[in-house]
Amino acid sequence: MKSKYAPIMALTVLVILVILALGWFLAIRPQLTKASEIRSTTDSVQSNTAQIQTGTAKIKQYEADLAALEPLDETLALNLPNRLDVEGYRTRILAAIDRAKVEIVSLELGGSYAVDGWEVEPQTRVSNSIARLFQTAPVGQPADATVPDPAATPAEGEQPGVAPGAYSPIVTPDTVPGPIVDELWAVPVSLQFAGTYAEMAKLFSELSDPQSQLFLITDVRVSARNGDSSPIAGVSDAEDGDVLVSLQGVFYLLYPSTEIVDDGTPEPARPGKNEPFVPGEPAGEQPGAR
């Protein structure tokens, strides 16, 4: 077709095509692409939110499970206090000796020592299972673009492998194997006494009173103390069938307090009527003496 309007029409079509092309590629398509990316991000955020909510529900279940457990506070306070009641343990042992009617030979307090806590693999701990539920980080935010470089040297105060501005969970699981209990101390007490076989059994029963602090007897030596045995100061003469018992037990302290407790203020003190270095009345017979 040959027409003098053809160039105009062709030019018009060309201009329209250029407008449409420029409009599509420079204006419309970027907007649609951006909208698509945003919708994709929204899907990720919603999926992540659902995951967080699932974790939250599990944590709440853990909370309910823990609340249903029998509390250990009283048991701990009784058996693993943070301070040894010196007067209390001596009174307890001496009272038990009186009730059992044995005769004490010696009572010693040994030097305390730390007990290494049992080592536990972190992944076996329930608390670590809970900590993992706190690790889901938010997505769809600018901070996500920051990927930590594991090889980077962290600055002071930063966690290794965590880029500045990266999400830091409120709870971090423990990944290093080691003891859970790091401050368990033992205070050994040694006791030697003499008595009959039945009285010995009675004393063991008295010392294992579950209403008192745990006194774990770890070492016992029972020796026959028959009538021809050597005399022991302060103790009745032996008869056939008697026993001489040496035992060592341990009191345990959890997170012992090293605080010095010293109430009151010193008052002026002068030598008085009492003579503290003059021997007083000698020991009489013990309550369990025959």
Partner: protein, 261 residues
């Protein structure tokens, strides 16, 4: 035929265009240009409309993203508010492990020592000494270092006298049958006299088994899931002793925790 021709009955004559061709073509050209411009404007308008639609789509998507982010922030805030649950479990673990480690080795000696001693309550055999080495928080009590007679949580060594080696064997057999003792054997023996009385003197050793542990301080509602067997294995592993065939050497978490993976 035009209307005037129809009115006067004029014959049908071809219409005469009095407008000069140049003017007519100029008009047509203007018309064509106008159409071209309109077409271009329509195209521009269409692009603008579609662009505005795309922008609207993007804005709506952004709004949806903002809502989702707000919900995510709220979910994280709600979850992080439960951080004390983690701390409470850590504290509970410490409490349970401390009680378990300190108290697992408790034995009711008023029963156990008496039960052991009672086995010699006869004229045929009697003890001259009994030594008990029991478990504690730092490990098991004593090890006989004899691979054939395996060790367990503690050891009893004893010295006794009997009227004959047969009675000594009988005492060993009675001790072996006693719950809580195993691997009872005499490590030496012979006749010895004292002031005219002759006895068969012998020394023995036995292994104390977990059967006598009270386990009263092991929490029944435990989240750490310790059992006497796993405790014994863990203690032996920690103290460097050979681990006897037993359940997992490390305490296992509760089934709930395992389910969490």
């Amino acid at each position: 035929m035009n209307q005037v021709a129809k009115k006067y009955g004029a014959s049908a004559l071809p219409g005469v265009n009095l407008v000069p061709n140049e003017i007519a073509e100029r008009r047509k050209m203007r018309s064509v240009r106008l159409m071209a411009i309109v077409a271009v404007l329509i195209a521009i308008g269409a692009v603008v409309v579609v662009y505005l639609g795309a922008v609207g789509t993007r804005v709506a998507a952004q709004s949806g993203l903002n809502d989702a982010l707000n919900q995510q922030d709220a979910a994280i805030e709600q979850r992080d508010a439960l951080a004390p649950v983690y701390a409470a479990y850590v504290e509970r673990e410490i409490d349970e492990y401390a009680l378990s480690q300190a108290g697992w080795g408790e034995i009711d000696l008023s029963q156990f020592i008496v039960a052991v001693a009672n086995e010699a309550s006869s004229d045929a055999a009697s003890f001259t000494s009994i030594q008990f080495l029991g478990p504690s928080a730092v490990g098991t009590g004593g090890d006989t270092q004899d691979a054939v007679f395996a060790s367990s949580i503690g050891t009893i060594t004893f010295s006794a006298i009997a009227e004959s080696p047969q009675e000594a064997t009988a005492l060993i057999a009675r001790l072996e049958a006693l719950p809580g003792l195993a691997s009872v054997r005499a490590t030496g023996g012979g006749f010895e006299g004292n002031e005219g009385e002759v006895f068969w003197h012998f020394d023995g050793v036995a292994t104390v088994t977990p059967a006598v542990l009270t386990m009263r301080l092991i929490p029944q509602d435990s989240i750490i899931g310790l059992t006497p067997e796993s405790i014994e294995a863990a203690v032996r592993a920690a103290s460097g002793q050979e681990v006897a065939p037993a359940p997992a050497p490390v305490p296992s978490p509760s089934p709930t925790a395992q389910a969490e993976g």
